[in-house]
């Protein structure tokens, strides 16, 4: 079974920042919630408490960037773009400051309800000129996100997982490299973040039901590797299913649709994720089931796409053993 890693961000950030004095940690009163409380205590000279004042925090970070620093702005994803959108645009994105926006609790990974759930962050961030958008899907990617983000020549928004995170991959996140997790021929499944583990689980049952799945995991959402997506979509018979921890509008589903349309590839596309709705507060498994973001929803989506019935039920999915993906998996560069 997969290894669960406790607080991978905490250790990764501290190890990296301690070696890079021009990296600063900014926090808006959620320091332990974003796992940098230890860093604050051990490296106070690189830590700035900004209080509950995100508008100032973002413009201030822009000023730090102008002074030659690379601030990592830590808070929940929603607080990085909803209230301070103007500051994000004018003080960070436009001037291409090397500000690293570390957005915790992406999508429905919080029981905090509408005010805490970043369900449209990808949609917002990817339309901002100069912005790069990354998403972590396992502990290895969380460990690698710090260095990956700091390699970006400009601002970057990262969807970061916290707490106990499964280790699915044994290679770090590389910007612009999607992971090809399986190379089936019936249907292309595209996932990112927490939906990748769901798709791995679904694949186990689908394989047994005779459905051949080609599965891509994305960690670089902008720039979006449209060429690779189109090539993989062209390699399957029935079409594409995207599954994302986000609204289907503006996220991976939309980006895939744009890629297919611009390439003139007439493949059917089913977009799974939040369907033009807010979510409410609850546990992650409950919310993933309730809003159709889990393995069962993916199976049903594939059945719809292929006009088949696989007979897979929740019991069959629970019986699937999810293992770490080893380096036999291909990474494809952007």
């Amino acid at each position: 079974m997969v290894e669960m890693v406790a607080r991978p961000y905490a250790a990764a950030f501290e190890a990296y920042a301690a070696q890079h004095p021009e990296v600063l940690a900014l926090s808006a009163d959620l320091t332990s919630s974003v796992e940098i409380d230890g860093f604050r205590d051990r490296h106070p000279e690189q830590f700035l408490s900004m209080g509950m004042a995100e508008q100032n925090m973002l413009s201030f970070a822009g000023g730090l960037g102008l002074a030659g620093y690379r601030p990592f702005v830590h808070t929940f994803g929603v607080f990085l773009y909803r209230r301070p959108y103007d500051q994000l645009m004018a003080s960070i994105a436009y001037p291409r400051r090397k500000v690293r926006l570390m957005g915790f609790l992406p999508g429905i990974t919080t029981p905090g309800g509408m005010t805490h759930q970043a369900i449209e962050d990808i949609s917002v961030m990817r339309t901002i000129p100069n912005m790069t958008v990354l998403e972590t899907g396992d502990a290895a990617e969380v460990e690698g996100i710090v260095e990956a983000a700091d390699s970006i020549d400009g601002p970057v928004y990262c969807r970061v997982l916290r707490g106990s995170v499964p280790r699915l991959f044994d290679t770090p996140l590389k910007v612009g490299e999607l992971r090809v997790l399986s190379e089936g021929t019936d249907v292309l499944v595209i996932t990112a973040g927490i939906t990748t583990e769901e798709a791995i689980r679904a694949r186990g049952a689908l394989d047994q039901a005779g459905v051949s799945v080609r599965h891509l995991h994305l960690n670089t959402l902008k720039p979006f590797d449209a060429e690779a997506i189109v090539a993989h979509a062209a390699a399957v018979k029935h079409g594409v299913v995207t599954l994302e921890n986000h609204l289907v509008a503006g996220g991976i589903g939309s980006m895939t649709a744009e890629a297919l349309a611009e390439a003139g590839l007439g493949k059917k596309l089913i977009r799974l994720g939040l369907q033009d709705t807010y979510a409410h507060g609850g546990s992650r498994p409950y919310l993933m089931h309730y809003y159709g973001l889990d393995a069962l929803a993916l199976v049903r989506g594939i059945e719809r796409l292929m006009a088949i019935e696989t007979g897979i039920d929740e019991g069959a999915l629970e019986a699937v053993r999810v293992d770490a993906v080893h380096s036999a998996v291909k990474a494809e560069a952007l």
Binding site: N56, F60, A90, Y94, P95, N130, G154
Partner: protein, 312 residues
């Protein structure tokens, strides 16, 4: 470089302030509209900043501004901001942010009066394809960051100042502000953060002309005792007459260890152009309503500024 350009300190600050009003007036008459009241209220402040208060290096960009060269992007490696008109970004030099970018016309006039931009620069104001934009952009002369959205300047200045202090730079960060900005919550977030982090290489001078786009602030949104509010939020705050240069010098010399300094410069939006009172309280952007009004203003303001009426 045109030979009539003055070098720094060749003129007195009073002369520069008068020159600013004359240039903005001339521009406004010729173009049948302009930011006249901002010149009235802030001419002494901007003249003081550029001619006395700030330690700025020689300009690094062409006296005649280059055309718009594109916005910042990975594909635009030659992009530059307008900061070079305020001198090179070196540790010993101060930086200046013009937080209300709507004062751009006045700021450009100041650059000309202090020999940092050629008079031709003002001819490019608000022309398509020009970098000398109506609302100062990051690439406009003398602008260092985008400030057209009000309230973000002081926060950016605080971040830059914190970083410069950590770098050991001796140069300060100065933010020219407008009083309308105190209606924005971010201004208060910025002051509290600057005070919390003891950022004392940061100072601001605020043009308190009590005017905003809709009219008099008193009617649009009352802001109360802003000196008390700034003090309560942790700044060292001083009130002066915004047209009194000796008061300005004294205020700048105030000790403010561990705190940002904020100078509230109470000013008149019609100072030096009394006929503007006729347009009160809609002074944000003065566009003449008739050719008669334009002619009346031309005669009256020219007389008050001691020049001939503008031929247009």
């Amino acid at each position: 470089m045109p030979s009539e350009l003055p070098l720094r300190n060749e003129k007195t600050t009073e002369e520069i302030a008068l020159g600013i009003r004359r240039r903005v007036f001339e521009h406004t008459i010729r173009n049948n509209g302009g930011y006249l009241s901002q010149a009235c209220s802030s001419a002494e402040q901007l003249a003081f900043l550029y001619n006395e208060a700030l330690h700025l290096g020689e300009p690094t960009l062409p006296m005649i501004p280059e055309p718009f060269g594109g916005v910042p992007s990975a594909n635009n490696p030659d992009y530059v901001t307008g900061a070079g008109y305020n001198g090179p970004f070196e540790p010993q030099h101060d930086r200046l942010f013009i937080a209300p970018a709507h004062y751009a016309l006045v700021a450009y006039a100041t650059l000309i009066e202090t020999g940092r931009m050629a008079p031709e620069g003002l001819e490019m104001f608000n022309k398509d394809g020009s970098s000398v934009e109506m609302i100062g952009a990051e690439h406009s002369p003398g602008m260092e960051v985008h400030n057209g959205t009000l309230g973000i300047g002081l926060s950016t200045g605080a971040g830059l100042a914190w970083g410069r202090r950590r770098n050991g730079d001796t140069g300060d960060v100065c933010v020219f502000m407008s009083d309308g900005e105190v209606q924005e919550g971010q201004t208060w977030e910025a002051v509290q953060a600057a005070a919390h982090h003891g950022i004392d290489n940061l100072w601001a001078i605020m043009d308190v002309n009590r005017q905003q786009c809709d009219g008099a602030m008193e009617d649009v949104m009352q802001v109360g005792d802003i000196r008390q509010k700034f003090t309560d939020f942790g700044a060292h705050c001083v009130e002066i007459d915004g047209h009194d240069l000796s008061a300005m010098r004294q205020a700048k010399a105030e000790k403010h260890e561990g705190k940002p300094l904020i100078i509230l410069a109470y000013s008149s939006p019609t100072h030096g152009m009394a006929i503007l009172e006729r347009r009160f309280p809609r002074l944000h952007y003065v566009r003449f309503k008739s050719q008669d009004e334009r002619a009346d203003f031309n005669q009256a303001i020219a007389a008050e500024l001691g020049i001939d009426p503008i031929a247009y």
